[in-house]
């Protein structure tokens, strides 16, 4: 199955993938135990897991015959960058406003 490359926003736009992340935020799970929580075929779950893995939201560790999914920070960093972008944006804009008002006061 071909795995699409999606960015962090597209990855979490899907409710099933968000649900997987939330389940994983409580404890690690095998792909099989994730599948048990969904009314979805095992290949469909595998595809979601692969997308999460490719985007850096989870890592997968093989332990014996089982594949364990663990949350990973990388995927979340892109969203953090997004917030940081706006934080810097406002700082630079408000600096401009400050300059304007200071000049006006003179």
């Amino acid at each position: 199955m071909r795995t699409q490359t999606l960015d962090a926003f597209q990855v979490i736009a899907d409710p099933s993938r968000r649900q997987v992340l939330m389940m994983l935020s409580k404890h690690t799970m095998t792909i099989n135990s994730i599948a048990e929580n969904f009314d979805m075929s095992r290949p469909a779950i595998s595809k979601h897991v692969k997308i999460l893995y490719t985007a850096g939201f989870i890592s997968i560790k093989d332990i014996g015959r089982e594949r364990h999914c663990v949350l990973k920070q990388d995927g979340f960093n892109e969203m953090q960058n997004f917030i940081n972008y706006f934080d810097k944006f406002w700082t630079s804009k408000l600096k401009k406003l400050e300059t304007l008002l200071n000049n006006k006061a003179k």
Partner: protein, 142 residues
């Protein structure tokens, strides 16, 4: 993880003067962006800017006035998309003006990034969580 933006600025002008810079398009343009803002609740407007080549953002922010209390509080929605249009974000900007003895304290709150909300909500104590998982994994390995 930070999930909202809060900034506090101080200006020597009284609130009514600072207010003008938040609500008059010709003044907003001077420090923020071009806009067709009107100080009317429910008014839909846009901020437009020239996105830098290669920038992720597409140059238009779609807004609607949510709350307006002259000289003290203004809030609008702040929705946009990233250049390829596949990624949309919804958020809210709130301006609060607090009169001070010698000027105005201007508070900015930009939050409610809805695409991200439930992820962030479940992301509290992230590192502790991650540590716990690693412990679990290690325990399984043994």
């Amino acid at each position: 993880m930070q999930k909202e933006i809060r900034q506090t600025w101080f200006f020597r002008q009284p609130p009514d003067e600072v207010w003008e810079y938040l609500t008059k398009p010709e003044l907003i343009e001077q420090w923020l962006m071009k806009t067709d803002f009107k100080p009317i609740k429910g008014h839909k407007f846009r901020f437009t800017f020239t996105a830098k080549p290669g920038s992720k953002y597409d140059g238009v922010v779609h807004c609607e006035v949510l709350e307006i209390k002259p000289f003290s509080r203004l809030s609008y929605s702040w929705n946009g998309s990233i250049q390829d249009k596949t990624r949309n974000y919804n958020s809210t900007v709130v301006w609060t003006l607090v009169p001070m003895n010698n000027g105005t304290e201007l508070q900015l709150q930009h939050d409610g990034f809805t695409v991200l909300d439930d992820i962030f909500a479940h992301n509290d104590g992230w590192n502790g969580c991650l540590k716990k998982m690693q412990d679990q994994i290690n325990a399984i390995k043994k």
